[in-house]
Symmetry: C2
Subunit: 297 residues, 2 copies
DNA sequence: TGTAATGATACGTACAGACTATCAATCAAC
DNA sequence: GTTGATTGATAGTCTGTACGTATCATTACA
């Protein structure tokens, strides 16, 4: 059986007239009769009552008519959707993000979703190291992450820079003052940090920052993900140095202070697998480029 | 596009190897490559990433793969069901019945349903006259009805004979006695009868029965359907003469008495449209024939 | 560097589906 | 009854295309 049989069958069932159906199909009547006969033979069921003057569907034919129309409709929708996925108008896009959905990331996601309503964005929170791996293995299509980035297999570009701030429990003695803090004041404080294996760039930058201020952070606690780190700070377990992106959502239990004399910032990058990136991923990357700040020279 | 394309595509998507897929399809590899290329061209989407050493589905291909399998499954089920409807193993069967589903009718329906679980029996209560019309117009496939039957267009045979009984309100003076009643005792009683136009055979037989007993029934009320008639009797509106089939289900408000010296009975017939009876209707008729009483000579 | 594996390409062929012509059956008009 | 129109089926021919064989290009691996 071929789709031709179904197409012809539907035409005859709709017109209940071989001649007119043939005309609609742009073929002559004899081959139409033949194909219908073939279909009946193959299915093993008479589909039409035919006298020389009238054509009517049998009960079996009526059933097949309904089914055939549904099948052709499904096929039509399937091919259209397939084409859309190819062009990147539709599909699923797995997106990784490190800690919090900063307003910068949300703006990009929102804008893309608005223009591509058929696209399903699936968000995965994972560390920068995990994103490198997931992008390489195509478990995610897009990553919002911090260095290091495996430039061999991944394409990437810089999006935003977020300065560092110190996160203190509100109950902490240093939390009273709103002025920028000197990092040397943090000497001996218990630090909460992500594991270096998960966020090497972030980790090293903070260490360097502290070293420059003449202190060596006393890491008492490791925690995965900014939200977890901040929860621990809120609980009074220790202090941490986080990006202003994480500090966007204020919490009562946490007090943020800028760092005096340091304009260090952590870079947020967008990355994708540069080999066989899905069309959707490519679209996303293109759309995201618009959000690069100061791109006008 | 033809089903061939989908079949070939599914084979390649399952094997992710053109050579092996071709072998399974019993064709050689080159035409398989061609057909897949055609499919991609027609849909307007790349379906496989092909290097010379590996074949992988694109996101678009993965979507089409799922859809194509579903479509092939639907098609398979549709053709099987169509064949079943043709042979009478499945389908819908509209059955008409006059008044009540007597135990005789129920036995036939039950037996048929047991042997043909894929068949949906749709019951329609309608008078014998309506059934004649509905059978001719194919609104129903099978009728359980009383004469007259239009032998021109309908095939039919006799099933059961149900003797007549008198139905009295329990409060009626004549309802005390359990012995057979003489019809002459009913002189002057208000009769409830179906309209003659709907149940001519039944109507005329009762009139003849009464006439033989020397009375002319005083028809005060007409009602469509035995259940309606019996409800009116129960309400004390009048009396009626009904078949023992209707009397099968006893009600407290109604008292039935046999009729003395009359072995008249109303015949229940099974009828169908003898032109292009649906295969299912034919099966039903054949199955019902087993229930003709005294068929052994 | 040579060999095996794999999908794409080139080209000839056979068959199936399409066309034209015609037939058979039915219905309607007179 | 007879004739003409309508309609689906059949017969015979032709053509497009799906398939097969042979071969190539590329890649992986020994």
């Amino acid at each position: 059986m071929e789709l031709r049989h179904l197409r012809y069958f539907i035409a005859v069932a709709e017109h209940l007239h071989f001649g007119r159906a043939a005309k609609e199909l742009n073929i002559s009547q004899p081959p139409l009769s033949q194909q219908i006969a073939q279909l009946e033979e193959e299915i093993g069921a008479q589909l039409f009552y035919r006298t020389n003057r009238s054509v009517r569907l049998t009960p079996a034919g009526e059933h097949l008519f309904r089914e055939a129309k549904a099948i052709m409709g499904n096929l039509e929708r399937a091919t259209t959707q397939t084409r859309k996925i190819h062009t990147g108008e539709a599909g699923k896009l797995a997106v990784g993000y490190t800690g919090m959905l900063s307003s910068g990331i949300i703006r990009i996601l929102r804008s893309f979703k608005d223009k591509h309503s058929d696209v399903e964005l699936i968000l995965h929170r994972m560390s920068s190291a995990m994103q490198n791996e997931a992008l390489a293995e195509r478990r995610i299509d897009i990553g919002f992450l911090c260095p290091p980035i495996d430039g061999e297999t991944l394409g990437f570009f810089h999006l935003y820079d977020y300065p560092f701030v110190v996160a203190l429990p509100s109950s902490h003695p240093l939390a009273a003052d709103t002025s920028p803090i000197r990092l040397s004041e943090l000497k001996g404080e218990p630090f909460i940090m992500p594991p270096r294996g998960e966020e090497a760039g972030y980790f090293d930058q903070i260490i360097a920052l502290c070293n420059r201020a003449g202190i060596s952070p006393d890491i008492r606690q490791e925690a995965e993900g900014v939200t977890t780190i901040l929860s621990l700070v809120a609980a009074g377990i220790g202090i941490s140095i986080v990006s202003t992106a994480a500090a966007e959502t204020q919490r009562e239990e946490i007090f943020y202070r800028e760092i005096k004399g340091a304009d260090d910032a952590i870079g947020l990058y967008l990355a994708w697998n540069r080999q066989d990136a899905s069309p959707l991923a490519e679209r996303f990357v293109q759309a995201a480029k618009v959000f690069i700040p100061n791109q006008d020279k």
